[in-house]
């Protein structure tokens, strides 16, 4: 399938609940190029998270296609598990596995999926933990860590799969204010390394600074998307202006 240089594309994706009574997503189309950082902003309930979760099919669209590396992954004959390996996801509530050590959290998927043996995976986990200065926490359980530490470990757990794209679902919304910085710094360094990223966020300053493009959503629709500076300084849509006037 033609990709036009896009790593991942949503084509006319809709997500309905209760037989169409609730339209969480209404004919959304979005293209993300390789290496691009896209921030998705909008009021609560606008469908941002649903849109992000459609990218790796944690939410299965009611209609439309999700094209990843030129393959329509909404096709029933596609093994979604193989494609999810290449799409890391980070959640608002971290979702670390509480019954496993930090190291085991990171190595579980690569080892279980036979992508690495345990010793290679352990070595990789330690390199990743060193990168975020948490190597000394390798044998700790998640309950012993702060929110910022948990989220950074959740990020490197996703990185251990060596993904082509990282999806972030409000990664700093559940953090104490003083821990937001350390998580954003890590995300920024990923962006600088050229990682393709889609980020649902309320951190407007971060979106403006790090994103290549900002997407504004409301009521399940993508209303406007543009360069951060253009979207924040001269929004075209009335609804975008209203939203930005409240949050900036």
């Amino acid at each position: 399938m033609e990709t036009n240089g896009n790593l991942i594309s949503l084509r006319n994706v809709s997500k309905h609940y209760n037989k169409g009574a609730v339209k969480a997503l209404d004919h959304c189309s979005l293209d993300i190029r390789k290496g691009e950082v896209v921030a998705i902003i909008g009021p609560s309930g606008s469908g941002k998270s649903t849109l992000l979760r459609c990218l790796n099919l944690l939410e299965v669209p009611t209609a439309g296609q999700v094209i990843f590396n030129g393959i329509d992954i909404t096709d029933r004959h596609v093994d979604i598990n193989l494609h999810r390996r290449k799409m890391g996801m980070v959640f608002q509530h971290f979702n670390l596995f509480p019954h496993m050590t930090v190291k085991k959290n990171i190595t579980l998927a690569p080892v279980t999926l036979n992508m690495k043996n345990q010793s290679d995976a352990d070595a990789q986990a330690m390199r990743l933990l060193q990168r975020i200065s948490l190597a000394d926490k390798a044998e700790e359980y998640p309950a012993m860590l702060s929110g910022g530490q948990k989220q950074r470990i959740a990020i490197v757990r996703a990185l251990a799969m060596e993904p082509e794209v990282m999806l972030f679902d409000e990664p700093t919304s559940a953090l104490d204010p003083e821990m937001v910085g350390e998580v954003l710094d890590l995300m920024k360094s990923l962006a600088e390394d050229g990682m393709t990223m889609a980020i649902v966020t309320h951190e407007m300053g971060f979106a403006r600074e790090v994103a290549d493009r900002v997407v504004f959503m409301d009521s399940g629709k993508i209303l406007e998307q543009n360069l951060p500076r253009t979207l924040f300084d001269s929004p075209q849509e009335q609804r975008t202006k209203e939203f930005l006037s409240k949050v900036l």
Binding site: N56, L58, N81, L82, R84, R85, M87, G88, M89, F91, H93, N95, L96, F97, P98, H99, L108, A109, T112, L113, P142, A143, A154, R157, A158, M161, L167
Partner: protein, 245 residues
């Protein structure tokens, strides 16, 4: 009227709460009955665990064709008396399947032990399945989402991420099911299983001491189940304290 009641505790006759004169002669029957009761209930709950897990996973399936048989099984076993289930399984199924008359451990004759263990286990599986289902549902859905987003297929996500956390949730309920089984297994006495209730019936019938044997086994049941339930409560409290996320 009141004086009649008091004599139940004071007279030395056969209709007395405190007449344990049968004990010196018949104590071995109660010891053996107790051992049989414990063996029967522990074995049947252990046997129930794997079928219960399968039933619980079936109940949680997305497919109606898989959910329905498990739901029907659970509904049938929870909505009919255990006494009736034992009769049907003992006289029905094990009329067709012949078990050899082998005695193990000195007290267990397989031809009667296996049918009753299976009957209790089939019943227990229905209840334990619901315990497992609740335990699995109590694990935060974010855990499954995180596992699936890493590319783990459904079963490895369940086995490596969800089940270990669910089992911790259900251990107290599972232990309570064991206590229930210790009590319920007394129903098997109606079909000649030589467990604790049967021992009491037999002694009462032989000696005409009509109350004492039942008072004795009530005390025995209590002495097992009450400390066990208190121990479970204590473990539950400690687990909750250690359950910081």
């Amino acid at each position: 009227m009141l004086s009649d009641f008091i004599t139940l505790f004071t007279n030395p006759g056969t209709a007395s709460f405190v007449n344990f004169s049968f004990l010196p002669k018949y104590a071995p029957y109660f010891v053996q009955g107790l051992a049989y009761t414990l063996l029967l209930s522990v074995t049947s709950v252990l046997l129930a665990i794997i079928p219960a897990l399968i039933l619980a996973l079936m109940r949680l399936s997305k497919s109606r064709a898989i959910r329905w048989p498990a739901g029907a099984y659970i509904a049938i076993f929870r909505s009919t008396p255990l006494m009736v289930q034992i009769a049907i399984i003992y006289f029905g199924i094990f009329f067709l399947i012949k078990i050899p008359n082998i005695t193990i451990l000195g007290i267990v004759t397989l031809s009667s032990f296996i049918p009753f263990t299976v009957a209790l286990a089939l019943n227990s599986a229905a209840y334990v399945a619901e315990i497992f289902r609740a335990g699995i549902l109590a694990v935060d859905s974010g855990q499954t989402e995180a596992a699936r987003s890493l590319g783990l297929p459904a079963w490895p996500s369940m086995r490596l991420v969800v089940l270990p956390q669910a089992i911790k949730n259900v251990l107290p309920a599972l232990a309570n099911e064991l206590i229930t089984m210790v009590k319920e297994s007394s129903l098997c006495s109606a079909y000649g299983t030589m467990e604790l209730m049967w021992a009491a019936k037999m002694v009462a019938g032989t000696t005409y001491i009509s109350i004492g044997p039942y008072v004795l086994i009530a005390i025995l049941y209590f002495c097992i189940n009450f400390p066990a339930s208190k121990a479970i409560e204590a473990i539950e409290r400690r687990m909750r304290r250690g359950d910081k996320r």
